[in-house]
Symmetry: C2
Subunit: 409 residues, 2 copies
């Protein structure tokens, strides 16, 4: 399948080179063209349903937290799909997606001299927001297959607290930014035990925990828990930052923050929400119909089936990697994490020359020098199963070649 | 006309009391229900036009600056409607409205210890974003009917620069936040001469000028210039922060930043835009059709005619204010500014008890103690001409009563 780029509407990502249809770019963490192709029709159905009865209210500034109808339908949808801790409409603030949820929470809840503890590796563009845009101090904490290393975290917390100056009243001195479920880039899901330990550390040290929960609904095998917030037991320091970008469509720019009312009410009282009102009012109204008509359930079921098959195909092929190589076996989400026996930077560059793009692990690290240079990430979201299988087969073949070159004779 | 509140979709503003249909709340700076009532049909026409040919691209992450088709149509629309300095698609970054434009520019372009000079009075919720959310230092500069006092500004700039510490490379040490056209709350438009002086001061002191340009297209008499950026001559330190909220619908959450490419490119390189892509991709695609079908021109013409009549009616009635009182005569926009002979705080409270809400001037001041307590703002945007005239007549009658009470016998 050729990568379709509608040049009249620009390339999808400015960094992509639309002139390279021969590149299978497995760095892309976004749904592909054939997943999105049916959406204009689905969206029109929902828009017609909603707008034929709307008297103009959706075109007004909405309430700061978003219209109740959307939050009610979304809460019911999330409660049903998560299946463990129920979501209440009052726990939700409508956002423009997880990017806007992160920006809002970090700007409003965190001290301006605040510290953000992140997993190493992590979602690399979040670091551009946290450190680049907002100027917050980032401290990388190692992680393993069970999640963030809570012992290392607590040591780092003690070190940072010691040198921390005074903090504005009513703001957290620090935040843990984590991707507990189907982690980006590794695909790991934090164990239940580790999650509870993390909440305990955060709670004892008065920190906020912001979970990038954008893949959680895309589970391909029974998850240990729906989101870290489901494990909370009274502490109420966990925010679940959700989005429809990965499960429906990024272009909607619609998401939510789920958290305890004592935190969501502070978001609602921000200058940002007082000035602009609901973050994406009209779209949230139309998506309310998408929810109430059951179209989002159908969509999610379809995507889960599709991505599950792609993930299984990729993992299956990657079992053919030579000795000394390993691959994560994610229970959901977009990403696989391949680790080789030594530095793979050159290997990844050569792969790209042969038409397969993968994200070098070092790109996802905030340590200096970057860790993870012997790993790379690949995404199953953008291309068809056939195209992914072809690219993954190339990876396996090249890994065998790499291994033979590296092995002593 | 009763204020329609569709309770199924929440009240439009959480601070409003929907149980008070007897209140004519002239604090509301938003289009009213009858202006918005036709929008569902208009939006469906544009959505049908756009989505019947879309193959899913609008549901993808868009380019950081927004899709080219939207920026091209918008540039052509703005060039035509502004009528002076042309707008190029490359000067535009798509935003979620002026609130998001302000947040983005202040976060990305300004030093984190930066200073923001604002007019006194100014749009009071912007201060919540600048000072409350972002923690920037706000310095109020007096203004008169010709705009910000540039002499006072330059003195304040010198004072602030002296105590300013080191600033991160590549960021402005300070920004002037101004509303040059149809100012909120006063309705004044900065003169051309004052505008050029402001640009000169900003340029000499390496400051950014961010113009809240959300009312500019709503001109009811020939404006001296379309926006401050049209007066710039090479300095390139002015950003025009525009929005469709006041001229079409706030609920769209769609706006733009217009600025020199050396600044817009820095916005496009922010973590925020790299992570989320185009700020409101789907809506911008649908609004592209609204523009290309000429529906936005019709809409703007209708709104200008409607608001012009309301403004004329209100100004006409306010000419009946007693001696010692004055009212601005705005050439466009939403707001009128009434000034009395002494403190009007109690007067405004009593007005509200009698069913007329106005914004006490002190609310729009950031000085301590607040200035402007002998003024108040009223908006012609939300209610019908009839309802506004009724409320304004009450204001005039009460002002006469106030004057008689205050005058020595």
């Amino acid at each position: 399948m050729a990568v379709e780029v509608d040049t009249a509407w620009d390339s999808l990502f400015s960094e992509r080179d639309p002139s390279s249809p021969d590149l299978t770019d497995l760095t892309i963490g976004a749904p592909g063209p054939e997943v999105l192709a049916s959406l204009p029709k689905v969206f029109m159905e929902a828009a017609t349903h909603r707008l034929t009865t709307d008297t103009g209210g959706l075109f007004q500034y909405g309430p700061e937290v978003g219209i109740r109808a959307f939050r009610t339908e979304l809460a019911s949808f999330l409660t049903r799909r998560y299946g463990d801790r129920p979501v209440a409409p009052g726990d939700l603030v409508t956002t423009c997606g997880a990017t806007s949820g992160l920006q809002l929470a970090a700007t409003v809840l965190l001290a301006r001299t605040g510290v953000v503890f992140v997993e190493d590796p992590t979602y690399f563009i979040s670091l551009s927001i946290i450190s680049g845009d907002l100027g917050l101090r980032v401290v990388a904490i190692p992680m393993d297959e069970e999640g963030i290393d809570v012992v290392e975290l607590e040591e780092a917390v003690r070190r940072e607290r010691e040198v921390m100056g005074a903090v504005e009243e009513g703001r957290f001195w620090a935040m843990v930014y984590t991707i507990p479920n189907y982690h980006n880039p590794t695909g790991f899901t934090m164990t239940k035990e580790r999650g509870k330990q993390l909440i305990d550390v955060a709670s004892r040290h008065a920190m906020l925990v912001l979970c990038d929960d954008v893949y959680n609904l895309l589970s391909y095998s029974p998850p240990p828990y729906s989101r870290l917030r489901a494990l909370e037991d009274g502490q109420a320091c966990v925010i679940s930052n959700g989005s429809l970008s990965k499960v429906v469509a990024p272009g909607l720019r619609l998401g939510w923050v789920e958290g305890p009312p004592h935190l969501t009410s502070r978001l609602a009282a921000s200058g940002y929400l007082l000035s602009g009102g609901s973050m994406n009012n009209l779209t949230s109204g139309i998506v309310t119909s998408l929810l109430s008509l059951g179209l989002l359930d159908t969509r999610l079921d379809d995507c889960r089936q599709l991505y599950k098959a792609r993930m299984a195909a990729a993992v299956g092929l990657l079992e053919g990697l030579p000795e000394g190589w390993s691959v994560s076996d994610p229970g959901g989400g977009y990403f696989l994490w391949v680790t080789g026996p030594s530095d793979l930077t050159t290997f990844c560059s050569r792969l790209r020359q042969e038409g397969v793009g993968v994200l070098v692990g070092a790109r996802a690290s905030s340590t200096s020098p970057p860790s993870c240079s012997s790993s790379f990430r690949l995404s199953i979201a953008y291309y068809t199963e056939e195209r992914i299988s072809e690219a993954v087969s190339t990876i396996v073949v090249r890994a065998r070649g790499f291994q033979e070159m590296s092995s002593p004779h």
